[in-house]
């Protein structure tokens, strides 16, 4: 036994020495205090500035067919946010916004290293805001390429498009949260409260849509008196990857109704539909509990059409028609009919906008055709958006009022 020990001792010592060499030179050591953790970023069109010299213009920007971009990173300021006292004596902001511009996103990100001691670290990036100017001119697959490629990035980062400059959103006043990025994220979570908020989309999903050439919508964020508002959506063409235009709040509601509630909690949709019973002047609020929608492709004699089945369940949340009695089944039937008419209006309006104005399929009609009639899809998939704009779509809306909360009548 002692022989064994005597023999293995030199080996042990050698191993320990080796481990000392290996463990001291860790290539990838990063101290958390030295990281500038980026939470949000925005991409805008760079304001055209004169190139410094004629020579640079020719050498560096010969390849350029698109304009340069300006990227803002929102970096957490750990001094303020991580401090024990919530009071803010130095009046510093809890975040640092740094903007830089260049031709490609990666270059811009590294360019910041010349100006800030802790350049952005993207592992915890949560949200990207694109300015509408840049989204109209550059393919999103190009704009987000670095975010989808770099291993520090994640596909789950949320995407929104700002009316105006994305950078201003990152400077907006906050209410609940310390950082504008977090404020926007919590707005996105409010999908179950308002039907006017578009379905959240991650950059991974954006990439999936673009690789399938299918069009989609991205939630819109607007700045109003230095405060942000999340409503409406930007329409992105799947073919070009560029933004085509906006759909408003009500059209977004229509889109939400067509798409229905997703399986995940994130996709849970709710909100209010205001309607008036025919012949009455007093409105009521119908609170949506559940939307179940189905897009059904129909092929008859070679003619293609779609039917959208929308089943809505909810409650009568508010009623200004004081002389009505919700304890009577007859009244709830009239409520259902009024909500049904209203939903049909909203959805038809959205479909009209998509088919006539933008001429794109943003609700996934093509996907359902592909699933149910692969052969028909193959014939039409090349210019599906164009084909879709001429296909008739019918609606089948069923509304169920499950309850009317705590008060059913005036007296």
């Amino acid at each position: 036994m002692s022989m064994m020990k005597a023999r293995s001792l030199p080996i042990l010592v050698t191993l320990l020495l080796c481990s000392a060499i290996v463990s001291s030179g860790c290539w990838d050591r990063r101290e958390i205090e030295d990281l500038g953790i980026a939470i949000g970023m925005s991409v805008d069109q760079a304001i055209h500035k004169k190139r410094t010299s004629e020579e640079e213009k020719q050498i560096v920007h010969k390849h350029k067919t698109i304009m340069p971009i300006s990227v803002t990173y929102q970096i957490v300021n750990p001094k303020i946010i991580g401090g024990t006292s919530r009071g803010n004596p130095s009046n510093q902001k809890p975040y640092i916004n740094i903007t830089s511009s260049g031709d490609t996103a990666f270059q811009v990100a590294r360019e910041t290293a010349t100006r800030i001691g802790r350049p952005p670290f993207f592992m915890h990036l949560k949200i990207i805001i694109l300015g509408d100017q840049v989204s109209r001119k550059i393919n999103l697959a190009q704009l987000l390429n670095m975010n989808l490629r770099d291993t520090e990035m994640r596909r789950t980062v949320h995407l929104t498009i700002a009316e105006g400059n994305g950078r201003e959103i990152l400077e907006a006043k906050t209410k609940n949260e310390d950082l504008p990025s977090f404020e926007l994220l919590s707005l996105i979570d409010n999908l179950s409260k308002s039907i006017h908020i578009a379905q959240p989309i991650s950059i991974g999903t954006v990439s999936e849509q673009l690789s399938a050439d299918s069009s989609f919508c991205v939630p819109r964020v607007v700045l109003h008196q230095k405060e942000m508002k999340l409503a409406g959506a930007a329409v992105i063409s799947g073919k070009t990857g560029k933004m085509l235009g906006w759909i408003g709040e009500e059209e977004t509601a229509g889109l939400n109704l067509v798409q229905g509630t997703g399986k995940s909690e994130e996709g849970h949709k709710g909100g209010i539909i205001e309607a008036v019973i025919k012949g009455s002047r007093d409105p009521f609020s119908y609170e949506i509990g559940k939307i179940r929608s189905k897009i059904i492709p129909i092929v008859k004699n070679g003619q293609l059409s779609f039917r959208v089945d929308i089943k809505v369940e909810g409650r009568l949340g508010e009623d200004w028609a004081l002389n009505e009695n919700a304890f009577e089944k007859d009244y709830l039937d009239r409520v259902n009919a009024a909500v049904k008419t209203r939903i049909e209006q909203i959805v038809n309006n959205t479909l009209k906008k998509a088919q006539k104005d933008f001429r794109v399929d943003v609700a996934g009609f093509g996907k359902q055709l592909h699933i149910h009639y692969p052969k028909e899809w193959k014939k039409r998939k090349e210019n599906w958006d164009e084909v879709f704009s001429r296909i008739p779509v019918s609606l089948d809306v069923t509304v169920k009022t499950e309850e009317f909360a705590l008060k059913g009548k005036k007296k």
Binding site: W27, E208, I371
Partner: protein, 374 residues
């Protein structure tokens, strides 16, 4: 042989070792590789077909080995096809194991570079991997089997946890339509999936040390069912959550799939670290078994001390692992090794079995007594 000091193990342990050898780097790229070949979302059927085909090949290996109880493939192939051809086959297998081990080491380093240690040179991670492998393998076959027994349950736990946590990203619509281009469109996907099952030929070498080897059929088949289940659910889930068109564009689709799991604000916000860790262990198991079998072959062929052989093999493996110039080179190497491995491990045992039957060998050595031995 006595110098190896291997104590016999059970059919269950044989199965675990086989499963550990099969599960390696393939799963990280499998969804993309089959999706590229087939182009429709029903590629999971290919995984089942690949599993069945390789299970049949594994049964051939098992049956062949059972014809020569107590002898490993390196020894008995000489008795079937003679000294020259037998040695040639052994050398072929040794080359296969060596390059396969090198490939595992290389891809392991690529994965580590992408997802864990960005700045650490490939050479360093590979060296550490190979040296640790050597340390384990020098402990002998029983140490290897013990480690496999230890890893496999953890692997299963992590894999199924990940599949479960990703459920909310899964969309059934993404794996439809079913068979849109007809069943014949699935054919090109069978070879790449069969490659993902390569490594089952360890059976040829390990049956010799298995107690009651005749009773291994059922455990081995169950092992194949388990691997097929893991592969199939991963392929279905990856395509169902990332869509087919997207999977084709991703370098490591399975890793992207795992990276989708997030618990904002929780202690572990990201979950991929568990998956990377467990998958490094799986590449490690594949690596050291290959290293061991290659050394065993050389040891039995020329009679050098097995530890010396292992030491000599390390630089060879390291050199082969360094050969590919870039990531594409490494993936390309994987493809050709996989193809070679599938070819070797299905065709050679089949031929040998046919020859052995033709010579009526099994009649003489029919191991009736073996089975009744306690």
């Amino acid at each position: 042989m006595s110098s190896l000091r291997i104590s016999p193990f059970s059919p269950f342990q044989l199965t675990i070792t086989t499963v550990s050898t099969i599960i390696g780097v393939a799963i990280l790229t499998l969804p993309r590789v089959i999706a590229e070949e087939v182009g429709t979302p029903d590629v999971w059927i290919d995984v089942i077909l690949g599993g069945i085909i390789t299970a049949v090949a594994a049964m051939i290996c098992l049956h062949l080995s059972n014809c020569f109880p107590g002898e490993t493939f390196y020894i008995y192939n000489v008795r079937i096809v003679g000294k020259v051809l037998g040695t040639l086959i052994s050398v072929l297998y040794i080359c296969n194991f060596t390059t396969f081990g090198a490939f595992e080491a290389r891809v392991q380093a690529e994965v580590v570079r992408h997802f864990l240690l960005d700045e650490t040179p490939l050479e360093v991670t590979m060296l550490a991997f190979i040296l640790v492998g050597f340390y384990l393998v020098s402990g002998g076959l029983n140490a290897i089997i013990r480690i496999n027994e230890f890893y496999l349950p953890i692997t299963l736990l992590i894999v199924f946890t990940i599949l479960f946590l990703n459920w909310k990203n899964f969309e059934f619509d993404n794996i439809r339509p079913f068979l849109e281009n007809g069943p014949s469109a699935l054919l090109p996907g069978i070879l790449p999936t069969a490659q993902a099952f390569s490594g089952f030929d360890v059976i040829l070498f390990l049956v010799a040390y298995t107690r009651n080897a005749q009773k291994s059929t059922l455990p081995i088949l169950l092992g194949f069912a388990l691997v097929t289940l893991i592969y199939m659910t991963i392929v279905i889930m990856v395509i169902g959550s990332l869509t087919l068109n997207e999977v084709i564009t991703l370098t490591w689709p399975t890793m992207e799939f795992v990276k989708q799991i997030e618990f904002p604000g929780a202690f572990f916000e990201h979950f991929e670290i568990f998956f990377i860790t467990i998958w490094l262990l799986n590449m490690f198991t594949t690596f050291f078994i290959n290293l061991y079998l290659a050394s065993l072959g050389i040891h039995l062929l020329i009679g050098w001390n097995i530890k010396l052989v292992m030491c000599l093999l390390l630089p060879v493996i390291y050199g082969i692992a360094l050969l590919p110039k870039d990531l594409n080179g490494a993936l390309e190497l994987g493809k050709s090794i996989g193809f070679f491995s599938v070819l070797v491990s299905t065709l050679i045992p089949l031929f040998l079995l046919l020859i052995a039957i033709a010579r009526n060998r099994p009649k003489h050595d029919q191991p009736v007594n073996e089975g009744s031995r306690p």
